[in-house]
């Protein structure tokens, strides 16, 4: 009898657990699966895959690319400025702007027909509030560097007062999403969780860890978007994203170079390659032997086979460039020196520097995701007589060692986007301990960057940057490998008018053929 009970108990337990589970599963909203490929004609929705979930929709306190992307759809900005800095800004919420002679005051005149998703008008007070949100933000505060105070003169006029002339200010202020002050004051929680924006799409809802849905805002001042419904789906694994693109479950996704080969062969898909300023580089600790000597750093620059590294680690989806400033950026010039693969030259430089080979350099420190880079670099260095072992660390432990200078040589990727001025983080002594990984310290370099910061004349700025990057290349402060391309794969019938430099796209520009 007792055995019977035991068996029964087990059975009941199993069944009841299955039962609970069932109801749990159905509670997740049952949007039917999209395995059948829908016909594209008259289609007005889009499914976009993202590899990570977004954590917040706070217009100033966000940190990831996906958050930035979604916020860009929800909120409009004062103006639109392509981040390469070459174009004049286009009007958005502000129909015109004016910069005072001394470069200290920026005056924006707003359109009067822009509304938030709740129907209320966008006023100068909202702009002031949004800019102040940025001034106080630890996350995005650097976008409005130099801004001292904001003044709303009337409903459609806003003046930004700067503490010092700061030329990159205009590009930075163009990135600030304009949010509603009244809505923020009503409820801070709603402000973050169910945002009411000023952009072409309004927030509909989300399932944590799974999806975020948006729909077009019909009263958008530039006219309602053609694609009405947008769903961001979280798919962490790249191979899965590739399959979902092929089956048509997903229409658009940012992809990694590793899956590109399997997508290019598919006629139903288009791959877009978008240039970006992020760079892959070798950082040498200039406070440690043998990298105190610029000759040794130059030798490393000649020793690495950039084409091969990009072929192996990026499946050729990167631009070879030994200059830290990418080609699209303001201040880049082909006249600035470039390093090419020349192992003989590297050996010569090493012997000139008095380095006896084979040299045992200890280890090349990398985070796990860069271990492929290290593997190729290790073999390149061995060819010129420098032996290193590879020391892989967990990412946070790696960053700890990197920023505290507890390494000799390392390889990684970095993005210092926005104005070219941002590249100062890699060079000036104030940033030793953060992004100046080479721990390079040179008063002349510090001075050049502070000149560039205050200079408002474009030609003069360009000349200063030319000096900076020529110096950086001459002294081989870093060994930059190249600029990885940002890759997007999408349904062939989706028209993506323009994905700008740096790759933060606007779904408003997309349409179905």
């Amino acid at each position: 009898m007792k055995k019977m009970m035991a068996v029964l108990l087990t059975a009941v337990l199993t069944v009841s657990i299955v039962g609970c589970g069932d109801s749990g599963g159905q509670s997740g909203e049952a949007a039917e699966t999209k395995t059948e490929v829908e016909s594209q004609a008259g289609k007005d929705s889009i499914v976009i895959a993202t590899d990570v979930d977004m954590d917040t929709l706070h217009p100033s306190d966000f940190s990831t690319t996906i958050e930035h992307t979604i916020i860009k759809q929800l909120y409009d900005t004062l103006m639109y400025m392509n981040p390469d800095g070459a174009h004049d800004p286009e009007e958005r919420i502000a129909e015109s702007y004016e910069i005072s002679e001394d470069g200290m005051d920026y005056t924006f005149t707003l359109r009067d027909d822009v509304t938030f998703h709740d129907g209320s008008a966008v006023t100068a007070e909202d702009v002031k509030f949004s800019l102040e949100l940025y001034m106080d933000s630890e996350y995005q505060g650097s976008q409005v560097t130099g801004l001292e105070s904001v003044e709303a003169l009337d409903d459609t006029t806003v003046v930004c007062h700067l503490s010092n002339p700061y030329s990159p200010f205009l590009l930075g202020v163009c990135q600030v999403p304009i949010a509603s002050k009244a809505y923020y004051e009503q409820s801070e929680d709603d402000f973050v969780n169910t945002p009411v924006g000023s952009g072409p799409y309004k927030y509909v809802g989300r399932e944590k860890g799974s999806k975020i849905t948006l729909e077009s805002y019909e009263d958008y001042y530039r006219g309602a978007a053609t694609i009405k419904n947008v769903t961001f789906e979280v798919i962490p694994d790249q191979s899965t994203t590739a399959v979902a693109l092929k089956t048509g479950e997903v229409d658009f996704a940012m992809i990694e170079s590793s899956v590109i080969a399997q997508l290019t062969g598919d006629n139903s898909l288009t791959v877009e390659e978008v240039a970006a300023s992020g760079f892959t580089y070798i950082s040498m600790n200039t406070e440690k032997e043998p990298f105190i000597d610029p000759k040794v750093r130059q030798a490393i620059n000649y020793a690495v086979d950039r084409e091969n590294i990009i072929a192996v680690c990026y499946d050729n989806e990167a631009e070879v460039n030994s200059n830290i400033c990418s080609k699209e950026r303001f201040g880049y010039s082909d006249d600035q020196p470039q390093y090419t693969y020349d192992p003989e030259k590297a050996k010569e430089l090493l012997s000139e520097a008095g380095v006896t080979t084979p040299l045992d350099l200890g280890s090349i420190l990398v985070a796990e995701k860069y271990s492929n880079l290290a593997t190729v670099i290790q073999s390149n260095l061995a060819d010129v007589g420098i032996n290193v072992s590879i020391d892989v660390k967990e990412f946070n432990a790696y960053i700890d060692d990197l920023t505290s200078g507890n390494y000799t040589i390392t390889a990684l990727e970095m993005t210092l986007d926005g104005d070219t001025q941002q590249l100062e983080m890699a060079f000036i002594s104030d940033y030793i301990g953060t992004a100046n990984n080479a721990r390079y310290s040179d008063p002349e370099m510090d001075e050049l960057f502070s000149q560039a910061r205050a200079e408002t004349d474009n030609d003069a700025r360009e000349a200063i940057f030319d000096q900076i990057f020529t110096k950086a290349q001459d002294e081989a402060i870093y060994a930059v490998i190249g600029n990885p391309l940002t890759l997007y794969a999408h349904n062939e019938s989706l028209e993506c008018k323009e994905i700008p430099f740096e790759g933060i796209y606007s779904i408003y520009d997309f349409s179905w053929k």
């Binding site: 657990i17 940190s63 650097s142 789906e233 990412f395 946070n396 953060t434």
Partner: protein
């Protein structure tokens, strides 16, 4: 029996405190702080410090630990995520049903397949059927999870187009992940059941039963199976933990929002409240499952039940 269960529930307190302390210590003593992880390498040190202060991360480890435990015990508050600034419990409740359903489905499938085939295999020991079953089970047990998952996806989602490749919207979405997770556990259960059955079949009382002329069927069902289930049931309980490991892979491959991916992401981001909250949540669940398993155990084996009721052994 009730006394035993009550005692076990009491034991859960030090265990949970131990888990909390261990996890908190691991997260706090490994390199990196939430501020610099969130703001990245280009952030200004003062911004990082300000953010850490906002999280209370500037206080010493022990103070933070006791504050945390205080909040959990006194206010039933699992804290707020550093990343999303949202209550941790929301994250857990959004994801737990998926993981639970996936785990239960795969454990049930694995038990049905593993135990029944294991019995067949044991009864037919050394026959071609036995050997085939064992070898096939072993091959499945030896295939890495992500590889199996991808293969299933390629075949069922891409080639046949009959099942979705990602998501957790309907039961259909659970088919492929369930197969992925259950294959390894099923193989393990098959072998364990087989060996436990063989073990018990050779015991004295089975021989006695045989000698008494009991039928083969009766011996298997009445005598052998019940005793053979002892190690199997233990494994079942602990397998819930292992299934969670399998679930992490399946959740990643099939883009299913679950506890596995929640915890792994949070660990990498050093989102201490999320890791703590979800680990404690799972720990409570896990301890309860183990307790239930042990109670079932006692039901199956009266000798152990007697021991529990005596309040442990006092032979020495």
């Amino acid at each position: 029996m009730y006394k035993y269960v009550a005692k076990r529930l009491l034991y859960m307190i030090p265990v949970l405190l131990g888990v909390a302390f261990l996890v908190f210590a691991i997260l706090s003593l490994t390199p990196g702080d939430p501020g610099s992880i969130i703001l990245g390498i280009t952030a200004k040190p003062e911004d990082i410090a300000a953010l850490n202060a906002e999280f209370g991360y500037d206080k010493p480890f022990l103070i933070r630990f006791f504050n945390y435990i205080g909040d959990v015990v006194l206010h039933f508050d699992l804290g707020t995520s550093y990343q999303s600034r949202q209550p941790v419990i929301n994250d857990i409740l959004a994801r737990f049903p998926n993981t639970f359903l996936l785990t239960v489905l795969s454990m049930s499938a694995a038990s049905v397949i593993g135990i029944s085939l294991g019995i067949i295999s044991a009864v037919k020991q050394y026959t071609a059927l036995d050997q085939t079953l064992v070898v096939v089970a072993l091959i499945f047990a030896s295939i890495p999870g992500f590889w199996l998952g991808l293969m299933l996806m390629l075949f069922f989602s891409m080639k046949l187009g009959v099942l979705p490749s990602y998501g957790a919207d309907s039961l259909r979405h659970f088919v492929l992940p369930t197969i992925t997770v259950c294959m390894t556990s099923a193989a393990g259960l098959l072998r364990l059941t087989r060996s436990a059955m063989l073990e018990t079949i050779r015991q004295e009382y089975i021989r006695t039963a045989k000698a008494k002329g009991a039928s083969q069927k009766r011996i298997i069902w009445k005598h052998a199976l019940r005793n053979a289930m002892l190690p199997v049931v233990t494994t079942l309980g602990t397998s819930f933990g292992a299934s969670l490991g399998g679930a992490i892979i399946a959740e990643t491959v099939f883009a299913m929002p679950g506890m596995g991916t929640l915890i792994t992401t949070a660990i990498r981001q050093k989102d201490i409240p999320v890791v703590m909250g979800s680990t404690l949540f799972l720990a409570v669940l896990f301890s309860l499952i183990i307790l239930i398993v042990d109670v079932i155990y006692a039901f199956i084996d009266p000798r152990i039940k007697a021991k529990y009721e005596n309040g442990g052994r006092s032979r020495e």
